[in-house]
Amino acid sequence: MTTAAAPPPSPPPPSSSAGPAVAPADVPPGSAAALAARGVTVRFGGLMALHDVSIEVEPGAIAGLVGPNGAGKSTLLGVLSGLQRPNAGKVWLRGEDVTQASPRARAARGLARTFQQPELFMGLTVREHLVLAYRARTARHRLWRDMFDPRSLLPASRTENDRVDGLLELLRLTRVAKAPVAALPLGVLRLVEVGRALASDPQVLLLDEPLSGLDIKASENLLLVFRQIVDQADPPLSLVIVEHDVAAVLSLSDTVFVLDFGERIAVGTPEQIRNDAAVRAAYLGDSEPAQRATPTSEIPAEAAASGSEPSPSLADLEGRS
């Protein structure tokens, strides 16, 4: 159950990778993991959104998180980022138990994320988003001290400018750097969110459907940027990407976790996932999937709350080219 650039040594064969390999929730993962969660369970009343889900991402690795609509992917990102408290299970960030830590505390420890619906600050410009995120991580005292400090009127430090402007350039946002985000289309807003997240110099970045709303070319280029960022990051940056475009996830990720009906049904390399019977069953609607064990009375909350978005096709699993 783990992962890195190389195929993980420990996970069992994909066809049997769902439940038995999960470690007890109170056993901490190896300190080498950038992010880990064990035995995460989330219930919304009588609805089971996640059941005993575990995930582990090593430093510098890209982990894909896929699953049909309503599988619990976004809920899991909520648990990892601290916006959703799990009913059971634990979360470790760089070896430290952060299960009870707030989203802010996790951000201070190097976790950043983007959202399915961009959560931006409508009164700020694109550049101000990045500046704020950078200062919130690197100069927290400025969040309250600046209003009294005339030095805040002075030009920003060269380090800050280099970092912010470099990210704007990387994401091709320089042209709109001074535009308020309220004036920008959805595709650009996603990039601003990515830029804001990267500006905090995270060690772990959670991306919730970053390609949604982007055209094919923009999607491919953004994936390229992600790979470039991960490859160049120092200290290492780990990505967890939730995306409906399975082909894109498989092409980018070192390891892929597959959720269905709130349970982890498979984990492995992209190649292993492509050949996994349980995954194919989940996506193609096999009436008797091998590993599914969700009680019929427990309907995943996400499925109940969202519409009936079509599941990716087999062609998605096999790559679009």
């Binding site: 959560e119 600050f121 700020l124 400025r142 969040l143 091709r172 982007l214 679009r320 080219s321």
Partner: protein, 674 residues
């Protein structure tokens, strides 16, 4: 004891009906109706007019006022106002009802006269019959209240549970958008809900009038108490709201039974019962550590999805921000500076009485600046800025007059005391959501007004408190410019605040809690900072008012008056420093001019109040306020362009491809990675 329980159920019953009306309106429309008390007062006053002044029979007056006029008021207000607020941000909705809260009592005065009415009849014929129930005397008025509570609760439950109309209402509570898609007209249901809600308001008004008298201020206090039950019900739980309303009435009555009647504390504890309920709820929420999240309290997934983001928000709307960014530094600052210079020069031109008025106007402007931070920047509606001003004024008077402090040092401490209170109120309420901030600050203001501002030390046998001006600013002219200097210093601070990291973080906390928290920014901390600063500024402003119009009465800092201030400020523009200055002048001068030149026109103050109320309602259409809207039009006119439509084309050359889409040429990612 039974006697007190039965008596308490009368007040509790009125609380319960009011709470039910508030909860029903909120759950079905997302609007927490702060004007409920004003509506109740209007209908009660109409009933009094028909029954007492026009000698109609009780039945005829009750049918016309409660059964016909009250629902008609709801229908009219729905078509004129509320239907346009359906997709507005919670803050806009609150401001609109605040506008009604200001306008409706003045409309009542214009329609029915301004005579003080101490004794108002209820629905029972005079003399009121008295019955014996379990050995306890019960008046017919009380019986009618019990009957109304039972009928409204039982009938309401049956209608909601078993009828098609009830089914449609419940569907709309869950999701107006989905209700519309399934073939039911949500507008028609909304009309009905508003008619029922104002019917409840009318019923509450007529039932409460014999108990509290026909005073719009007391009605506001009554409804503020009912809001305590609504808060305890987390805005949505109808049975809890009714039960807590009843329990508050009984608790009030039992306090009367068991506390020493001669003690002043008894009266104050009784007055504070609703506020104790709110305090208990806040402490419970704090211990529990949960977030109530008022924004998630209304509508379904689809409703939230179609609610405009970045528009219709009070101040700092997206369109305004876009335009501000496009006008450049000169365009941004030239107009405001010119206006400030003109207003600042006026005290040199006028003389005598009018100079003193400018001192007051600038002091009020300082208080209005507190809303510039907390509402204009923080997006929160604090309804107790006048209370903080009162705290600043009282502290200054106590320290300077009774303890010999230098008056400016005393004013500074007054501001700090207000700041501590602001921090406490903010810390307890902000984590629950913006609607709770409005509710809690309103009730905090009323609590302070009734419990603290009425203390004998402050009332001083009706003589009020005196504060000497600083030795270097004893004349009206010098003090006027001292006030203006304070205003300018604070305005500059706010300008810097907006540009600072603190201001950016506050903006972040305002627009996206999830985005802010996952970026490492504490929403509560940033908003508490804003609330505390605003309280400090209001406290300083209060100290200036105390010096400007010494001696002053603590009663001048009544919460309802603060709501009028807010209505004025919102009308002109809650985000602009210059708007605060203009609002200060607008608050002081029209009234003074009318009184000076047209003493016989007694209705003009009411007309002004109505206009201010309507101005606040207009915030629904022009969230930036009249000043920003007219500046925008003027700029467009001067530039020879038509006014830019809000949310229209983005500025600059955004048509040029941006984002990673512009990376070219780029190999396919699949070729790169796999």
């Amino acid at each position: 004891m039974l006697q007190f329980v039965i008596a308490g159920l009368v007040l509790g019953g009125i609380y319960a009906i009011a709470s039910a009306g508030l909860v029903i309106t909120y759950t079905s429309s997302g609007i927490l109706n702060f004007a409920f008390g004003a509506m109740a007062f209007f209908i009660a006053r109409f009933y009094y007019y028909l029954h007492t002044q026009e000698s109609w029979s009780i039945a005829a007056a009750a049918v016309v006022s409660i059964v016909l006029a009250a629902p008609a008021m709801g229908v009219v207000l729905y078509f004129l106002l509320f239907r346009y607020l359906r997709l507005s941000a919670p803050l806009i909705k609150v401001v609109a009802t605040i506008g009604l809260l200001v306008a409706i009592p003045s409309l009542a005065t214009l329609a029915f006269g301004n005579q003080a009415i101490q004794q108002a009849p209820g629905l029972a014929p005079e003399p009121v019959a008295v019955y014996q129930f379990l050995g306890v005397p019960v008046t017919l008025d009380q019986v009618i209240v019990y009957a109304c509570v039972i009928v409204t609760v039982v009938a309401g439950a049956l209608v909601l549970r078993y009828t098609e109309v009830g089914l449609k209402v419940r569907a709309m509570v869950d999701s107006p958008a989905m209700t519309g898609l399934s073939g039911t007209n949500p507008g028609a249901i909304s009309v009905g809900v508003w008619a029922v809600s104002t019917f409840f308001a009318g019923l509450v008004g007529v039932l409460a009038a014999p108990i509290i008298g026909l005073d719009s201020g007391k009605f506001t206090v009554l409804i503020a108490a009912s809001l305590a039950a609504v808060v305890a019900a987390k805005l949505r739980n109808l049975p809890v709201a009714v039960l807590v309303g009843l329990a508050m009435g009984v608790a009030t009555s039992l306090f009367q039974r068991y506390l020493p009647p001669a003690s002043q504390w008894t009266t104050e504890i009784i007055d504070a019962v609703p506020f104790m309920v709110i305090a208990l709820f806040l402490v419970y929420s704090l211990i529990r550590g949960g977030r109530v999240g008022d924004n998630e309290g209304w509508g379904g997934v689809l409703d939230r999805a179609i609610t405009p983001q970045g528009e219709s928000r009070l101040a700092g709307s997206a369109s305004g921000t876009v335009e501000t960014a496009s006008v450049g530094v000169v365009g941004k600052y030239a107009g405001p500076l010119l206006l400030m210079v003109v207003v600042g020069a006026l005290p040199m031109i006028v003389s005598g009485y009018w100079v003193g008025l400018f001192a007051q106007a600038f002091a009020y402007a300082v208080i209005f600046l507190s809303w510039t931070i907390v509402t204009g920047e923080g997006g929160m509606l604090w309804l107790c800025q006048i209370t903080f001003a009162g705290v600043g004024a009282l502290t200054t008077a106590q320290l300077a007059s009774n303890h010999g402090w230098p008056v400016l040092a005393a004013a500074l401490v007054g501001g700090l005391v207000a700041m501590v209170m602001g921090a406490l109120v903010g810390f307890l309420s902000i984590r629950l959501g913006d609607l709770y901030v409005a509710l809690v600050t309103l009730t905090f203001g009323l609590l302070m007004e009734n419990l603290v501002f009425t203390l004998p030390t402050f009332v001083n046998q009706g003589l009020g408190l005196s504060v000497n001006r600083p030795g270097f600013a004893t004349t009206d002219l010098t003090f006027t410019y001292l006030s203006l200097l304070v205003f300018v210093v604070i305005a500059l601070f706010i300008v810097n605040f907006r540009r600072s990291t603190t201001g950016l973080a506050l903006n972040a906390a305002r627009w996206s809690e999830a985005g802010a928290r996952t970026s490492g920014i504490s929403v509560v901390q940033q908003k508490v900072i804003a609330g505390s600063l605003a309280a400090f500024i209001a406290g300083i402003g209060g100290a200036l008012i105390a010096m400007a119009q010494s001696p002053f009465q603590p009663a001048e800092f009544a919460t309802f008056q603060g709501v009028v201030w807010l209505a004025i400020f919102v009308t002109i523009g809650v985000r602009s420093n210059v708007a605060a200055l203009i609002a200060g002048v607008m608050f002081v001068f029209p009234d003074a001019l009318f009184q000076y030149y047209l003493p016989s026109w007694t209705t003009l103050p009411e007309i002004l109040s109505v206009l201010f109320g309507l101005g606040a309602i207009s915030a629904a259409k022009y969230p930036e306020g009249a000043l920003a809207e007219n500046s925008r039009r003027l700029r467009a006119l001067l530039q020879g362009f038509r006014p830019a439509r809000p949310g229209g084309e983005p500025p600059g050359d955004l048509g040029v491809p941006v984002g990673v889409a512009a990376v070219s040429p780029a190999p396919r990612i699949s070729e790169q990675v796999s």
